[in-house]
């Protein structure tokens, strides 16, 4: 602030300079991040129109460069983008679809544009986009980003007629410097886990060696889609409130509150106004700045508002979660729990947990943890994540007769929220909010109890079989030794053994092994 030369930089330039904080740390990480950002945009695009996603990804080495450059192509069957918006949606940072209180995977499309920007600065090649919303036209663009101005430069533009049946979707293709060898494990893992959390999606990936990975859908049923909701009063800060007041047409404070807030009905509003001695008839526009501050504080602290409605969330549901886990992990046993919606700082969230045992789950000496947020797998910094803490530090597995060091167990945690509390822009791990921690803990406890019951039933059946053979062995011995003690011939145990056989499995035999 003290330099004597001042100028403004564009958001493009800012993020170009600080690209490592969005996941473009090095060529290996950049390939991984680019793929996941495009795939997640495609998933959102298909789900937004209620279509089971079909996403095809290919990563091909381009030999036209002296260094390691790849052509990344992602094709989806999503909503498509209206022709006139395409240059901005892909060529202008901090431009995107309206930010709403609705569960989405990405952060305002920043990630996808960072991939385009990264491709451009490492290879100087334009991004190539083909898209149609399923109407009569298909739009094709080649774009560069003017970083200093944060504006798209249209290198080429074509409009094609859409055939019949009409195609809908988006194809995006970039060139980027990358390192596939060092990123391939994470990329394949990313696809596998995405397939787990999106069992209704079909994913294919052709890697630079020409290997085709396919992740087929096992259902066409989509989870209930999410609705946009008004802000909850507990999540409103002064700035948001100020903006709402500026743009409202309501003429009284009472009307303003009822109209603009989620879960604020007439009765609640009256209670609220009374408690804080506010005049219901007051024109909201007449509030002074310090009155606005006090109102925001009151809204945040009034504890009689109902918690947010989860209709703005789109959890997977227990059935789809089980489906996904079965499909990708093929366990002997799996159970899923969806918790009731809860909130932190006024944002609604839902925790879903699955617990899988045996079968395809490897025995690694520790619990395998799969973390998802809004159906996105989180692959980095596992040990900083709240779920890791719950699984490894909070839950006492011994209590459920489960031994994490020996039993082959996987825990799948999925958190849905209109606002996932990431600690970084790179969407890598979830911060340790007490409300979220508590819900994850409760869900895992329920799942652990179910697994515990399954395991103990399994063990009971196995044990019952042993009983008869044990009786047979020992009763014969006792008979023999009593004959040694008395010098008489061995007594006949057959009558006794018949009684044991009748007893088998009944409660007449006391104790257990």
């Amino acid at each position: 602030m003290s330099r004597q030369e001042f100028r403004e930089i564009s958001p493009s330039e800012f993020f170009y300079r600080h690209r490592e904080i969005v996941g473009f740390t090095n060529p290996a990480r950049a390939v991984y991040t680019s793929i996941r950002e495009f795939v997640e945009n495609s998933l959102d695009a298909a789900e937004s129109i209620g279509v089971p996603p079909d996403i095809h990804v290919s990563l091909i080495r381009d030999e036209g460069f002296e260094f390691e450059v790849y052509r990344l192509r992602v094709e989806d069957n999503g909503s498509g983008i209206p022709g006139e918006y395409i240059p901005y949606a892909f060529g202008k940072i901090l431009y995107g679809s309206k930010h709403t209180l609705k569960q989405m995977r990405g952060i305002f499309g920043l990630g996808g544009k960072m991939a385009i920007l990264y491709g451009q600065i490492t290879t100087n090649r334009p991004v190539h986009i083909i898209s149609s919303i399923g109407d009569r036209y298909i739009y094709e663009y080649r774009l560069l980003i003017d970083i200093e101005k944060n504006n798209p430069i249209i290198v080429e533009r074509n409009v094609h007629r859409n055939g019949s049946p009409r195609w809908r979707g988006t194809i995006i293709e970039i060139f980027l410097e990358g390192d596939y060898q060092r990123s391939s494990i994470k990329i394949i893992e990313y696809f596998k886990e995405t397939a787990m959390a999106n069992p209704y999606a079909e994913l294919t990936f052709i890697d630079p060696y020409g290997i085709l990975y396919t992740f087929m859908r096992s259902t066409r049923r989509l989870p209930a889609s999410s609705r946009e909701v008004k802000p909850h009063p507990h999540g409103v800060d002064v700035e948001t409130l100020r903006k709402m007041i500026n743009s409202t047409n309501c003429k009284t404070l009472r009307e303003f509150l009822i109209e603009n807030f989620h879960r604020v009905g007439e009765a609640t509003t009256d209670k609220f106004l009374k408690k804080y001695s506010l005049d219901p008839a007051r024109d909201p526009a007449s509030l002074t700045p310090s009155e606005i501050v006090d109102l925001a504080y009151a809204l945040k602290n009034f504890d009689e508002f109902l918690p947010p409605d989860p209709s703005c969330l789109s959890p997977l549901g227990e059935e789809l979660l089980v489906e996904g886990v079965k499909k990708e992990l093929n366990p002997e046993f799996v159970t899923a729990i969806q918790r009731k919606p809860s909130t932190y700082s006024g944002y609604p969230f839902i925790v879903e947990v699955a617990l899988a045992y045996g079968g395809g789950i490897p025995q690694t000496g520790r619990i395998t943890l799969y973390r998802f947020a809004n159906k996105i797998p989180l692959l980095y910094d596992e040990s900083s994540d709240v779920s890791w803490k719950v699984v490894n530090q909070i839950i006492d597995w011994k209590h459920y007769k489960i031994d994490p060091a020996k039993d082959p167990i996987a825990v799948i945690v999925h958190i849905c929220s209109t606002r996932i509390p990431y600690r970084t822009l790179g969407k890598e791990f979830i911060a340790d909010r007490p409300e979220i921690e508590a819900e994850i803990t409760r869900a895992i406890r329920i799942a652990a109890r179910r697994l515990s019951e399954y395991l103990s039933h399994k063990r009971r059946v196995e044990k019952a079989r042993e009983y008869f053979s044990i009786y047979e062995k020992y009763l014969r011995k006792i008979a023999r030794f009593s004959s040694m003690l008395t010098g008489m011939s061995e007594p006949d145990v057959s009558r006794l053994l018949r009684r044991v056989k009748k007893w088998r499995g009944s409660k007449d035999i006391e104790g257990s092994l």
Partner: protein
Amino acid sequence: MEGIEGYRRISIRERRRDVLASLEKLGYDIYHTIEEGEFPYITMPSRSTKNIRYDPILRQYVLGEYKVRRTTRNIRHLRPLTQLVWVAAIAHQLCSQGKTSTLRDIFYMAQAFEVDFVDQYESDDIVTDLETVIGYPREDFNIYPEERSSIFGDLTIEYTVPGYEGRRINLLSHPDGFVIGPTLSTAEFVECGAEKVIVIEKGAMFTRLVEERAYEKFKAILIHTAGQPPRATRKLIRRLNRELGLPVYIFVDGDPWGMHIAMVIISGSANAAHLTDLTTPDARWAGVYASDIGRYKLPSDPLTDIDIKRLYELKNDPRYRSGIWSKEIEVFLQHKRKAEQEAFSRYGLSYIVDVYLKERMEELG
């Protein structure tokens, strides 16, 4: 040869006959139950802590009224019951043939019968069960431990083991000591020139007392326990006291562990509450006392945490709640020091006999 008043002396041979009869009865009971098509069982006093109580008349721990029933109706009892009957059968064989065996042997012999013991702890435990069921210590059915104590002093014994029946020896004849094993344990006392018994915890101190002629100076039989004495040795001490009327003095290290060796000789241990005939209630603890450390300015070591924990455990034992026991525990806890028997070596090798034990015997009278 004059025993303590009221002590009913049973000869070694009579006793052997009683043991055989008890084992056979156990066999018949089971035999008949099986023949009747019922599940065989055994009833015996419970050895759980709740059923152990201190008997002030016998002056030892004994088992209470509570019984446990091992029944083959309970699958968890099936294996231990089988093992118990097997041990009974083997004990019967040993006694009939006049052979002895050890706990370790029992563990190995089991293999020929496919009586599966996980380890020797388990077979040892079953032997203890058999003791409880028939009420005799295992030495009476010829199962001896590995450890050996030794004895030295003016006592003539007569052997009862096959091949040595009627032969006699005087235990003064080998100053390094006679091993207390199955033959000595089953010998009868014939003649005794000693007037007391001094029981010593450690071999080195035993040698010291021999060299310093304590057996002459005090007219004493010396017994070396080698730590916590084997039960055959405890029984021998009891017999010396009961059959010959000799007062017994126990000289151990000055720490909670030594103290407890003395107590076990005097009134038994809680885990042998199912047995009588092993204790010597009139024996006296002769040192090293906690108060001796200050009194004789002995080299000493600080009590460890484990020592102190042990002292607090002893405080809760009713036998330690009065007299010298409680007084010395308080001294231990106050000064937090302990001393070994050898600590008297600080004053030269003769001091222990000529000064310390002399003074102590006079004090105890």
